[in-house]
């Protein structure tokens, strides 16, 4: 018995439907597997911490360095971008000579009127007292923390723009730093960071 065109149509339609569904199921399975693999890869990489250090006083140098070294001890990937006055911390002449300014800081251990804090010699005195407190309480010094940061693989970026603006040369800076970079480089790093901090 010959097959009618309608019967043929039906058979073809059924076969096409079967093949299409099978292929669709295959494609969906592949897509889901790929998405799950990407998620797994994302969660197995270490957490990334991006820090901006923008101030160069003794007390403002602590937060970025303590956070950076601790994050590294927690097996996180860390990068610190030193810009504006933060760059002062990276200078050979800056690292060991950071100052603590007693003006406009009502939270100081020994609060004093701004007028008094602004007198000549007060910054030197306040810096000395702060350094003594740090030593007395067995807190790590800034040079020590910087060494620890370098040893732990923390990336330390000097800001190229700040170097140009303040006429700071590469030779003025300490060893162990990354090449000077711009904001775009740091932002790209920070765009994949789990923690981004501005100090």
């Amino acid at each position: 018995m010959a097959v009618t065109p309608q019967e043929l149509d039906q058979v073809v339609a059924a076969k096409v439907k079967e093949l299409a569904e099978h292929r669709l199921e295959q494609m969906v399975r592949e897509q889901v597997r790929a998405a799950l693999d990407a998620e797994a890869k994302k969660s197995s990489r270490p957490k990334r911490v991006a820090i901006v250090s923008s101030k160069g006083t003794l007390d403002a140098a602590y937060p970025p360095l303590i956070l950076a070294t601790t994050a590294a001890a927690l097996d996180m990937e860390v990068g610190v971008f030193f810009t504006f006055f933060g760059l002062h911390i990276l200078k050979k002449k800056g690292l060991e000579n950071l100052k603590f300014v007693p003006v406009a800081n009502p939270a100081m251990p020994m609060p004093m009127p701004n007028l008094l804090g602004a007198l000549p010699g007060m910054t030197g005195l306040a810096t000395l007292m702060m350094k003594q407190t740090i030593k007395h309480k067995h807190i790590a010094s800034i040079p020590e923390l910087m060494e620890l940061a370098k040893e732990s693989g923390v990336k330390l970026w000097p800001c190229q723009m700040t170097m140009d603006m303040m006429d700071i040369k590469w030779n003025d800076l300490i060893d162990g730093l990354e090449e000077p970079v711009g904001a775009a480089t740091f932002l790209e790093f920070a765009s994949h960071a789990d923690i981004t901090l501005y100090v």
């Binding site: 590294a72 001890a73 927690l74 067995h138 790590a140 040893e151």
Partner: protein, 80 residues
Amino acid sequence: MAIGYTVDERLDCKGLNCPLPVIKTKKALEKMAVGQVLEMVATDPGSKSDMVAWSKSTGHELLETKEEPGLFMFYVRKTR
């Protein structure tokens, strides 16, 4: 609480404040083999919660914490 472990290395962090205890713990573990146990002694009260956080973050096992007046002892096993 794990029982029956032996201490392979000891680390003295007495007198050191945050963040040095966790930093030195990590450094000490780097020199040890997987499975070995480190005893870390600290005087910093902040190290109690810091070591829990450190162990969570790094995956190394904090076997036990002992406390004596002014002293905190941590027993850590290197897991990887």
